[in-house]
Amino acid sequence: MRIEITDPGLLTTIQDRGRIGYAHLGVPRAGALDRRSADLANRLVGNDPNDAVLETTVSGVSFTVGGAVTIALTGARASLRVNGYERAFAEPLSLRAGARVTIGPARVGVRSYVALSGGVDVPPVLGSRSTDTLAFVGPDVLTLGASLLIGRPGGTPAEAPPTGASRVASWPGATRLRVHEGPRRYWFGGDALEGLSAVSYVVAASSNRIGLRLSGPSARATGEKRRELASEGIVLGAIQIPPDGQPVVFLNDHPTTGGYPVIGVVEPADLDLCAQLRPGSLIEFSVA
């Protein structure tokens, strides 16, 4: 069974749990930025957690299904219309062949997830069906008219859980991100993480799947440590401080190595929050 993309939206990509084991060859990890929401979508339609889903960015996506399928929408809350009729968010939905699905813009947050029973069945590249938007390893970003094969459904759709929406931060409060120590925190003084946690940052518009770019008070390396750093391996959630002192929180499409010091690493369980932060959102770090 195939689906045909009738409106690709701003940036819709195929994502699964990411490309593991190739960082030493310079291959970004990729994978769904809000893993909790992607996992929920797969669970709702009876998929395996490794099945590929569609990840939208802000503006939604539309497609027509070529056969019977169960779908579910999670992540950033958005309208879901089938053949023009509004349907439920975060619940399994049975569709017949020819159904026209329209997912609207995110009302809050950034990324919504569409799971289809059987999973998006594009050929895996290096063990994953994810697209990384840094090196573009993996399937293409979705375009108008793209035709995607959907796999044979394996499992049973789940009961919809009581709360389906992801923990999307609500404006105007600050989102708190817990931070662990990073390898170069001493570049920023003995109380580096405390200093980082004492101020607020704003998510800049240049943020994307590669990382959140934050605007705020500059984090400066203290004199005796200020020197060039040879490029070193980077982890998901690493908070890197470039020369301008404006932190970058690396997300799934981060480069595998980098030459600016990493002061801390965001608590893995808080990365789903990062996936849903709009430009203009306020962030505060707290020492984990």
Binding site: I20, A23, H24, G182, V235, V265
Partner: protein, 199 residues
């Protein structure tokens, strides 16, 4: 060996040289196969996805810089057309005629220290300090794939088109990166490389 925590499930080890990084990475891959990513770089090795920190610490304590390396891998020969836009500039920096640049470059046995920047982009060591070159002050917005370039004492072949500030000596038609293969990178950490002049 200096070790640094990198969040709750990763560790960064500092080592003196790229050769030591490659050696340590190979050793730990063998001793601790369940570590999700082992990423050597110029002076460090990152261990990411560490479940058993105690085992890793014990193995790191046992490691010594390589005194008896395994059977060295075969050397990869990369044929190059040495007509790069920066060949003349490198000749001036090295203080030799342009033809001598080719002779010097092809005489070196390079070793891939690590990959980063983009898939299949391998940082090759082997250029002596005396032949170190600066990067372009304004990087090119597009370096064609297959470009053979140098910067500091590194050499690399660009696997795909990308921005870049390295000095381009020439180009090769050999494909550095093929994501359809199980071993997608032609050059991976440890690969030995020699460049040959195709005239």
């Amino acid at each position: 060996m200096q070790l640094h925590p990198v969040g709750p499930s990763a560790l960064l080890a500092e080592v003196p040289t790229p050769e030591a990084a490659h050696s340590l990475a190979s050793w730990i891959r063998h001793q601790c196969p369940d570590i999700r990513e082992v990423v050597p770089a110029a002076e460090t090795v990152l261990f990411d996805g560490v479940i058993d920190h105690a085992l890793l610490s014990r193995q790191l304590a046992l490691w010594e810089p390589d005194t008896s390396p395994d059977e060295p891998p075969p050397t990869l020969c990369i044929p190059v057309v040495y007509d790069g836009p920066d060949l003349a500039a490198v000749a001036i920096i090295w203080g030799v005629p342009a033809a001598r640049v080719v002779g010097l470059h092809t005489s070196i046995e390079f070793v891939a220290a690590f990959c980063g920047f983009s898939p299949g982009f391998a940082y090759l060591t082997g250029l002596p300090r005396s032949l170190s070159v600066p990067r372009l002050s304004t990087p090119r917005t597009r370096v064609p794939p297959g470009s053979v370039a140098i910067a500091d004492t590194w050499c690399a072949v660009y696997p795909s088109a990308s921005p870049g500030g390295w000095l381009i000596l020439g180009s090769t038609e050999l494909r550095m990166w093929d994501q359809s293969k199980a071993a997608p990178a032609l050059i991976s950490p440890g690969t030995r490389v020699r460049f040959t002049d195709t005239i």
